[in-house]
Amino acid sequence: MAVVRDKAKLKEAILRVKREGYKPVVPEMQLGFIHNNVDCIGCRACEIACKDKNGLPPGPRFRRVQYIEGGTFPEVYAYKVNMSCNHCAEPACLPACPTGAIFKRRKDGIVDIDSTLCIGCRRCEAACPFGAPQYDPETETVKKCNMCVDEIDAGRKPYCVMACMMRVLDIGPIDQLREGTYETKARGPHDRVVRQVKGMADPELTNPSIVFVPHSKGVVE
């Protein structure tokens, strides 16, 4: 299943990265995710929809519903943190890529990988603080969530969002999601949103495009 790579094309790409260096892309509008950590039942329909959409073998999980629990019997709590790629404003993966395969779309800020340029070196995987890029041993390339750009370009929402049985996962312009002005079922009538929850990497690292409705035990002071 491993791919045969076009060496001439790769060489050209690597030279171009060296020649041009890293120029951050400032998108016209940045799309991002919102997830309600409390109301999510953790069913992982989003994960499976993503696996099916992207035809992934066992191993890579672009979307990961993390189960968090704590307390001492019988005073316990549990909640979910659901994350895929955060399509960061300052993605750590992008400058780590030696072939320039990773790119950020100017129109909506989606970060994607050109699979024809990926050499499977896995540097992006190491650079990302959120575990978004993942190695697919079948193709020997790194893959990650691209927010279903084909669906976005067709005017629809990504598969994970459309899969959510509880309607707690959504996308929207991240500015509006942060301000709470974007209409979405993910946020309940009295919910507020935060940029970071407990256990998550510091958002200052890459400025991820995601907000959460946090659990009271997941709030970061």
Binding site: K9, I41, P57, Q66, A78, F103, T116, M165
Partner: protein, 845 residues
Amino acid sequence: MTRVADPVLPGLNVSRRTLLKTAGAAGMAGLVPVARSKPAAAFAYEPYPTDDELETVVTSCAHNCGSRHMLVAHKKGDVIVRLSTDHGGYDGNPWGTDTEELPQLRACLRGRSYRARLYSPERLLYPMIRVGERGEGRFKRASWDEVLSQIAEKMVYLRNTYGPTALLDQSYAGASFGVLHKSDQIAGLLGRFLGMFGCRTSSWSVPSYQGTTFSSRITFGTIEDGNEDDAFAHSKLIIMWGWNPAYTFHGGNTFYYMRLARQRGCRFVLVDPQYTDSAAAYDAWWIPIRPNTDAAMLAAMAHYIFVNDLQDQEFIDRFCQGMDAGTMPAWAQGQENFKDYILGKYDGQPKTPEWASGICGVSAEDIRKLAHLYATTKPAALKASWAPGRNAYGEQYNRMAATLQAMTGNIGKLGGCAEGVGKAWHAEAIAYPYDQFANIWFASIKSDRWAHCVLNYPNVRREEIGLWPRQDQFDGLIPNIRGIVWQGSDWFNQLTNINKEIRAVRKLDLVVCMDSTITPSGLWADYLLPVATHFERHDVALPWYKGHYYIHRPKVIEPLGESKTDFQILTELAWRLGFGPAYNPRASRDYFRFNDAVDEAYLRSWWETRVVPHQGVDISWEEFKRRGVYKFKLPRIHVAFRDQIEKGVPFPTPSGKIEIFSTVLAQTRDWTRTQYGYPIPAIPKWIEPFEWLGDREKTRKYPFHLISPHPRWRTHSIFNNIPWLRETYEQEVTINASDAARLGIRTGDIVEVWNDRGRVVVPAYVTERCMPGVLVLFEGAWMDLDENGVDRAGNPDFLTLDEPSPAGAFAYNTVLANIRKTQLDHRPVWDKLATARSYLFRRDL
């Protein structure tokens, strides 16, 4: 663009590149090849057929869970490339429509994994005949003609030699749930087939919910005691009693309407040995309770309500029989009524919260608090789930819950709840011939007593197997079971006490398994018949449990391999046995090869003669097929028993009342001549179960109570082989952290769990979310025996008891066991690499 194409198609992960190459890339040519010096611009999977470039076919999922959701196949040629689900636009509304009245029918993780199941390596593609010992799992491929000839010959021999009870019908709702291709005991294709053949022993008790079925029939006179899922959005208090909709989903959108309820200020309570994801998502007050003691706690709640005079006496006086002395029927004066039982008039033991606390482990204070909350919050839904009823005397729990629902006046009211079974809106469910030949049987037994019957025949008393009474010469005839037929059923893996089943199956002369997948049951069969999945045949899906809609299921792709539909197989066998035209009146002799026109005729007739006239549907069959889904708009939210409460329509019980004191049970004299076999009190009572934590003698050897609830990542045993789902979880035994510390067990350690009936090996999951003294092991793992008969896969039914409750409830959750660390290996069926990732993403803080 020089990638190597996959050589094989179709495979599980159909490579998009291959697909385009083989299927022709018309319209896609612009994407290939990429210009050389162009900066990165292609997205991760180019070239890639987008949804709009593929053919879209609306269909649904089809397995035996409590829901039924829409799946939308996106296909190229005869290959399903991916699945999506409802987007709200298929029934004529704008894309994205998702309102409280017309919600989208979004599939769960199991439904979304269907492509992996359809193309799985475990898919059964050809008829097979056993060549090794039974259970050894060695088969050879055979022709349909050879297999069907052999089966027909053996069937005739068994019927003529051993009589009309020789073949046991163990069909079930596995993966064949549609209006045309149904596998089911009462309304199924196999039952009609065996009945016409003149040789059938039926299995009458429902593994999932016989306790609550009995309770609802006795108390309300019907199992249609459910509200539609949208009613849950209107409760002020929802008590989830052993109910985990975050795992079982239970209806089109039940879980989502509960979220709306919470946003509107509804409070949630969970009574359960585990702090489930439902408790977390609805922020519930968790009351941990010892398994199998629910009736005692409910009795104490009734006690609190009576002594504080918080009951709805007006409701009781109008609608109930036998709640108290004043509502006892004249003919039963002097017999026990419920209130006086609770107050201790008969046995000298008032069922106080203090009394119950010693049994159920919940503090008296919490029992009082919950009773007060329930009695004073209106409307309140006490959702008495099925799981606590899957117990010894589980029917008493369900009847006790129904009694509380009645005494608080929460029946027949929006926001209240009388569930119970919970079946609500009534679908037109049957499109195939349903006539005088439907559900004919010559003996009918409690489903989990078949092995006992086989092993002890003829020295079996009728009450031991729950023989259903008859009015003819077959009454009391102990069935001489010599063969089993499984249709859409993995019962060998799913019923209780598997080691006993293994002894019994070895004594049989014929075992036939009809399935689309090679199941653990199938490995014990003599003949494997490959059944086309619901993607490969024409049908219509109906909601299983809650929801009001039909989903069209066209033949999305041609049947894989040599698989045929259930209806084709049984029709062909019927022809060979001489009753083909009667069994399938619309079919001709070549139905085995050409079934499309006949199936279409059945379905069209069903739509035009039943759905349209009976249910006021205003679109044609052709229009329904074009849209793929029809969602009903009900005139008002469906609430069970609304007419009884608002209009005084009698309940369908002998007295026309809600029977807390049961007319039928009170008038039964000889219990051995009933299907129950053993006495059942006329009013709900706490009865000590066969095995439980309060048994000082038995707990010395087996100090843990094991429960085996339904997992989220498979439906019973279906989907256990799907790698995507296996990635999200692990078959594991849940144990409380303090118990685990005492035994030196940490998360991920391999442990063995055992009792006198069997032994299983699984990893442990140590958590504070489980109450001490309780082990949780999800049902449905595919058994995997080692040479010593130890199950390395961790199927709890090696430990369960095959002794049902008198009313027929399976005692799945009535199990004492012990646990310790082990050197034995666990075999997770699927590769460890995949499942291991679930550690990475779970449960750490």
